[in-house]
Structures are given as structure tokens and as C-alpha cells.
């Protein structure tokens, strides 16, 4: 929606686009553009190149490598990255634990963790969800009991995304069992090589492994790995979750998927019904993008770190459009998407697979998660309802 951007903003976006085009590996971008999953190496490589250019975490404080950018510039940076098929920096590092340490951590923690976090020398995992918590996150049961200079942690985390690659995990743990729910929770940084910590990958219906269970059995954690104050972890978690008002809209991802559909849709898009679905998807995506820009334009006037109905709205609509786009692609591929394959190599003599054959349907299955994770859409609706009904 160029008409909403100033000349300067547009120039900024162009600059970023050129940067990604010139500095990021072409092979990787081409492969991801064809629907491939970013590997661990892709993400690490990307974060190191970004860090080499001082762009690892533009939204961090300047003294820790951040840029003094406007919210809109940060958005354009992230969007151009997605549109250029560059994997986004690991959110657990740059969007989650990094800002928490930078804001609430000790000077020693900042020095110890922030540079390595920005550069992905530490791969962070998130230890919030538990098997019996779900949307009721605050009912978590993992305990950390102080024992001298250490905490002894016991419990189980789940839905730990990419935890199979994790070096460290930031966890919400209960340090005061007598206190009610949100009180009594602390924010702890745990080395995943610690004895007693085990990771079990969960096989998902798309055939892949991206989430894990993490078991903590008498894991001993040095007390200086507690972030901020004991029993204040819930407020740090809220800060972390409310940190990005617009990221959950996934607008860059949606737009790049729409462009991909148009690129590979071929004659299927001559079908008036498929074409109409694409058009309505484009219209909703354009509206969502403008909604994102509206939020960014008044970002400064909003209280920081508090969930508001606008970000809920962006998450709701963004997840729906993501899902619609993935569904449309399966419909465009038709029978060509029915085979489940690990690679697009075919035996000699067989036709090459059409683009999307590999990933369309697995992505459709996988993206059902978009309306479940990061606050299910039911939770988002309730946040909106509470705000508009004040009731």
C-alpha cells in the first residue's frame, strides 16, 4: 500500500530490499521462495549476516545493537525481509528473551547474553506452555525451589518450537506455590545441556517436527540466571508477549504467499471461483496491511507492553488470511498436491514436480496452528470483547 507511505519511508524500504537482495545467499532465498523450510543453518547464517551489518535486532536499545528506527521502519525492515524470502531472525532470541533481558536483566546478564543472542551464538527456546495449561497459561505447574545458590527445577514444558535446536531455554517457573496463579511465577534462564533436562520432539500432522516436549527433572539452575525479581516473572512474560503489536499480523508472510500463488497459479487462476477467492484474499490482506500501518502510525501514543484490541484484531485476521492463503494453494494444485514427499527429487524419466507440490498441503495442515498458538483466536476475541464491552 505504497500510497500510505511517505517518500522517505519508501526509500527506506527500497534500501532494505536492496540490502537483502545483495547480502543474503541467493540459493537460500530461492529455495525458501519455492516453499522450503528454513533450516537451523539458514537462520543462523541470516542472523550472523544481519549482525555483521548491525541489523540483528533493530528494536533493541541502541547500546545493545539496536537502531533508532520508527515503528514503521522496523515494520518495513521485517516485511522486506519476509518478502525477500529471508528467514526471520529467531523470534525467541530477538523478539522475546532479548528485550526481556535488555529491560529487566542485570548488567552482567546483558553482557553475558545479549551479544550472543543477537548473533544466534545461543539458540533460545521458549519454556512457557505446559501440558495442562493451554490458554490458561498462568496455571503452570513447573516448580523452581531455591537451594543455596541454585534453583532446583521440576516439571514439564510443551509446544517448545524448534526446541530440538535449543542451547538455552527461558522458562516460566513457579517459585511460590502458596501465591495465587500469576503471582509466584519467576523467569529463569536454563542451559539446555543441564543434567536432568531432556527434549522430546513431537511429530505433527504435516509430517514434520517443529515443537517439542521439554522435561525438567531436578535440573539445577544457578540463581544468577533468574531475570529480574523472584515472583515477578508474569509481568516480564506479559511484557514479552505484548511487545510486538503488529508482528502477529504476519502481513509480510501473507503478501509473499499471495505473490507466490499468483506466480505459480497458472491456468488454475482462470477459474472464476479460484480467482475470486484470490481477489478477496488480496483485498483482505490489503486491508490488514493498512490496519498494521494505522497501528504503527499511532504506536507512540499507546501504552507499551499491554495487549490491546488492535493487536488482537491483527492476530485474528492475520491468522485467518494465512490459513486462507495456504488453503487456496492446495486448491490450485489439486491432485498434484496429494503425494507426501520429503524432497522434490523424482526418479529419472518422471516429470519434475510443479512448484508447491511438496509444501502446499503440509503447510495447510501446519498453519492450522496459526489460530491456536500465541493466544488462540478465542482468546483474542475475548480480549477484544472485554475492551469494547468493558464487561
Amino acid at each position: 500500500m505504497n500510497t500510505a507511505l511517505s517518500k522517505e519511508d519508501r526509500a527506506f524500504a527500497e534500501e532494505m530490499r536492496a540490502f537483502f537482495a545483495s547480502e543474503m545467499p541467493a540459493e537460500m532465498r530461492e529455495r525458501l521462495g519455492r516453499g522450503g523450510h528454513p533450516s537451523r543453518d539458514d537462520i543462523v547464517t541470516t542472523m550472523r549476516i544481519l549482525d555483521d551489518h548491525g541489523l540483528a535486532a533493530p528494536h533493541w536499545p541502541v547500546e545493545w545493537g539496536g537502531k533508532d528506527w520508527t515503528p514503521l521502519q522496523r515494520h518495513l525492515f521485517a516485511e522486506e525481509m519476509v518478502m525477500a524470502n529471508v528467514p526471520s531472525p529467531l523470534a525467541f532470541n530477538t523478539a522475546m528473551v532479548g528485550p526481556v533481558i535488555a529491560t529487566f536483566g542485570s548488567q552482567e546478564q546483558k553482557e553475558r547474553f545479549l551479544p550472543a543472542t543477537a548473533r544466534c551464538d545461543i539458540w533460545w527456546s521458549q519454556g512457557f506452555s505446559e501440558p495442562n495449561a493451554g490458554s490458561d497459561l498462568a496455571s503452570l505447574k513447573t516448580t523452581a525451589v531455591r537451594d543455596g545458590d541454585e534453583y532446583v527445577v521440576n516439571g514439564q514444558k510443551t509446544w517448545t518450537t524448534l526446541g530440538q535446536f535449543g542451547d538455552w531455554i527461558f522458562c516460566l517457573v513457579r517459585t511460590d506455590s502458596a501465591a495465587k496463579k500469576q503471582r509466584g511465577i519467576s523467569f529463569l534462564l536454563i542451559d539446555m545441556t543441564s543434567p536432568g533436562l531432556t527434549v522430546r520432539p513431537i511429530h505433527l500432522i504435516d509430517g514434520g517436527y517443529e515443537v517439542n516436549e521439554v522435561f525438567l527433572d531436578n535440573v539445577r539452575v544457578p540463581a544468577d540466571q533468574l531475570v529480574g525479581e523472584e515472583n515477578q516473572g508474569w509481568s516480564y512474560a506479559k511484557f514479552l508477549l505484548g511487545n510486538e503489536r503488529t508482528a502477529n499480523a504476519s502481513i509480510g508472510l501473507i503478501k509473499s504467499r499471495i505473490l507466490r500463488i499468483k506466480r505459480l497459479g497458472g491456468t488454475a487462476l482462470d477459474d472464476p471461483l479460484l480467482r475470486a477467492r484470490l481477489t478477496r484474499l488480496e483485498v483482505e490482506a490489503t486491508a490488514l496491511e493498512m490496519s498494521v500501518l494505522r497501528v504503527l502510525a499511532r504506536e507512540a501514543s499507546l501504552p507499551p507492553g499491554v495487549p490491546d484490541p488492535t493487536s488482537s484484531m491483527l492476530k485474528l485476521k492475520g491468522s485467518e488470511l494465512q490459513q486462507d492463503a495456504s488453503e487456496l494453494l492446495t486448491d490450485i494444485l489439486g491432485p498434484a498436491g496429494l503425494a507426501y514427499r520429503e524432497t522434490d527429487e523424482v526418479p529419472a524419466g518422471f516429470d519434475a514436480l510443479p512448484e508447491g507440490a511438496l509444501d502446499a498441503m503440509p503447510t495447510y495442515f501446519n498453519w492450522r496452528k496459526a489460530s491456536i498458538y500465541a493466544g488462540s483466536n478465542e482468546v483474542q476475541r475475548e480480549i477484544i470483547a472485554k475492551t469494547i464491552l468493558k464487561f
Binding site: M1, N2, T279, E282, V283, T286, A287, R381, E382
Partner: protein
């Protein structure tokens, strides 16, 4: 990037809003709707003139304020909130804009000051029974006659066509140009079949039988001017609809909080809460696209502008359908009565959805070429 109203626009919004709040509550409106002959208020019309609203976008040399679509959109959104019955779209958004876009300096001088002053009501007659919303697939004809033209044909659903002092009408010339022609309201051969429209605004079918007319500018240039005016008019309907949708949402929210059933306000029912939340999402999407449409009007790339405006109206029509239907459902029976305002908003937004192009047509138009999301 500043997407909020500037100070001047905010002042305009406040001025119009406070006038309407005082003078246009649901009862006053119902009175006009059901008990006045004209169906709207001449007195308020004069007040709009006095506030400069009727000449808002008219050039200063013709007595207007020379403002742009941004300001007009602010007014339209306020009008949408109050659901005004006066022929503002017919006279200002369509009639005056067409004269301004297609007319000669003399024609502008002859017509626009009267519009600005509130003494002239205009209408634009283009739709025909067999042509749906096509601007070019029309049967009305214009043939040269002396120094002017005569126009023949039948036009339907002419907003403000009942009371217009002058009518702009589209018709095909012998050269097959779609021209714009100006007809006096009392011209010989012009007959009106006047009615209230479904949304309460007044309108008419107009029958032209060899009606004397003057061409608005050169017929060969008229279509481009007409299309450009319709781009703006579509964007303005988007803003009006957003105002109306906003009211439907908040009326519904208020109702959920005050209506008690089974011993509690019905806002406790989660299914109703979540549906109100979905209405909010639809409203925000519509608001974003109304803004996008207004910004797109500044775009010199005509196909891009037109696509953006059409996309906006598509989103608005879909949001309005959702919000309107849910507003009634969440109100229950009371929402279907004339005495309660919410149904009137449903009717107006439904009529807007059938003006200039509907969601089906817009879907096909927007999807016809490279579409909306491009790599640029």
C-alpha cells in the same frame, strides 16, 4: 506517515458531528422520514451550506472552500454516523463533482455557486434497468438539436431524482460517445416516478422523451471525467459506510450491556461477546480500506487508483453485510423495528452495497488484471 486527521480535518469533524448530534437524533430522523413530504430537511440543508459543506470541494472562485477528498471523507463519515437523509451524495458528491470535472467554466459558474449556497439540488441519472451498473452499456441517447441536444431514455434509481433542480444524465451520442448532459428539472419531456428508496433516501426513475439538454463539456471527454468522479464517489460511500458501521457496532455493544435476560445482561454470553468482537474486526478492516481509498485518490496512476477504490468498496460491502446482519441478530426482534435505529443503518449500508457496483462485480473487476498485491 500520518494517517490520522490533521487539525483542520479534526475541526471539521467536530463541527459536523456536533451539529448532527444536536439536530439528527433517531427521532428527528424518523420524523423526517415518515412525516415530511420532502423526506429531508431544507433547513438543515441550509445549515450545511452555511457551514460550507455543500461547497467543500468546490473551487473558491465558485464560492466553495476548495478542499479535497480527505475533508469530504470526514464529512461523509459523520453523515454516515447520523444517517442523514439530505441529497448530499446526489448534489455534492455526484452532481457538483460532475459539473466540476466535465463542465465548461461557464457551466461551472452557472451551477456551482447555487449548489454551494444551498439553493440548487442536483442528481445524476445513469443506471438503466437492463445495464446493471455499466456506464457504457446504456440505451439512453442524445442527439444534437440546434445549439444543444435532446436526450431520450429511461434511468432508474436516481438518487435525489425526485427533487433535483437540475439533472446530469449519461447518454450515448450518434458517435457512440457516452456523454454527460445537463437537463433542467422542469424541462419539457422529463417525467419523474418519485419514491423513497429502500434506505429512506428519496429518489426517482426518470423518463426522458426528447428532453432539451446541454452537453457538459465535450461528450467525447465525458466518460473519463465520469469515471474519475465515480472513483471519488465510491471512496466517499466507503467513508459514509464506515460511519454507519461504527454506529451499528456501538449500538450493538450498548444493547448487549443493557439488555437483560435470564437475570443478567446478555453481554455475559460468550457467543454474543465473540460475535461482537468479530464485528469489531470487520469494522477495522473496513476503516482501513476507506482510508486506503481516500489515499488512493491522490494516485496519478489511474488503473491503480481505480483498483484500490474498488477493492475498498468490496471490503466495505463485505464488512457492512457482516456487521449489519450481526447487528440485527444480536439485537433480536427490536432491531427489526422502524422505531429502533439499527435497522436503518442496515438499510443504508445495503443500499450502498448496491450503488455503483456490488461485491460480485467488484470482485471480478479487482481480479481482472494483475490484482491488488504486487511485488512492485
Amino acid at each position: 506517515m500520518d494517517l490520522d486527521l490533521n487539525d483542520e480535518q479534526q475541526m471539521l469533524a467536530d463541527t459536523v458531528g456536533s451539529l448532527l448530534e444536536k439536530r439528527y437524533d433517531a427521532n428527528a430522523r424518523l420524523q423526517l422520514l415518515e412525516s415530511s413530504e420532502l423526506g429531508w430537511s431544507r433547513e438543515l440543508w441550509q445549515q450545511y451550506a452555511d457551514l460550507g459543506l455543500l461547497g467543500l470541494t468546490v473551487d473558491e472562485q465558485y464560492g466553495g472552500a476548495g478542499m479535497g477528498a480527505g475533508e469530504l471523507a470526514v464529512v461523509m463519515e459523520s453523515f454516515g454516523r447520523a444517517l442523514i437523509l439530505e441529497p448530499f451524495v446526489a448534489t455534492v458528491v455526484l452532481g457538483a463533482a460532475l459539473v466540476d470535472a466535465a463542465g465548461s467554466p461557464e457551466q461551472k459558474q452557472a451551477i456551482l455557486p447555487g449548489v454551494t449556497a444551498g439553493s440548487t439540488v442536483l442528481a445524476f441519472a445513469y443506471a438503466e434497468a437492463a445495464s446493471r451498473w455499466s456506464l457504457t452499456d446504456i440505451a439512453a441517447t442524445a442527439v444534437p438539436a440546434g445549439s444543444g441536444w435532446t436526450v431520450s431514455g429511461e434511468k432508474i434509481a436516481v438518487l435525489g431524482g425526485d427533487s433535483a433542480d437540475r439533472v446530469v444524465v449519461s447518454a450515448k451520442t450518434p458517435d457512440s460517445d457516452v456523454g454527460l448532459f445537463l437537463v433542467e428539472g422542469d424541462a419539457t419531456g422529463l417525467r419523474r416516478d418519485a419514491y423513497a428508496m429502500q434506505d429512506g433516501l428519496r429518489g426517482a426513475d426518470l423518463l426522458f422523451e426528447d428532453v432539451p439538454a446541454v452537453a457538459l463539456g465535450e461528450p467525447a471527454d465525458a466518460l473519463a471525467a465520469l469515471e474519475s468522479v465515480l472513483d471519488t464517489a465510491m471512496a466517499m460511500l466507503c467513508s459514509e459506510a464506515v460511519g454507519a458501521m461504527e454506529r451499528m457496532l456501538w449500538m450493538t455493544v450498548d444493547y448487549l450491556k443493557t439488555r437483560e435476560q435470564f437475570g443478567a445482561p446478555i453481554a455475559v454470553f460468550q457467543t454474543l461477546r465473540h460475535r461482537a468482537a468479530n464485528m469489531y474486526v470487520s469494522l477495522e478492516q473496513a476503516r482501513s480500506m476507506a482510508l486506503a481509498a481516500r489515499l488512493a485518490l491522490l494516485d496519478d496512476d489511474v488503473p491503480a487508483r481505480r483498483r484500490a477504490v474498488r477493492a475498498a468498496k468490496l471490503q466495505i460491502d463485505l464488512s457492512a453485510r457482516h456487521i449489519g446482519q450481526e447487528a440485527i441478530q444480536l439485537h433480536g426482534g427490536i432491531g427489526m423495528t422502524m422505531e429502533y435505529p439499527v435497522g436503518h443503518y442496515l438499510k443504508r449500508t445495503t443500499a450502498i452495497a448496491k450503488t455503483f457496483a456490488d461485491a460480485d462485480l467488484l470482485t471480478q473487476l479487482v481480479g481482472a488484471d494483475e490484482g491488488l498485491v504486487t511485488a512492485d
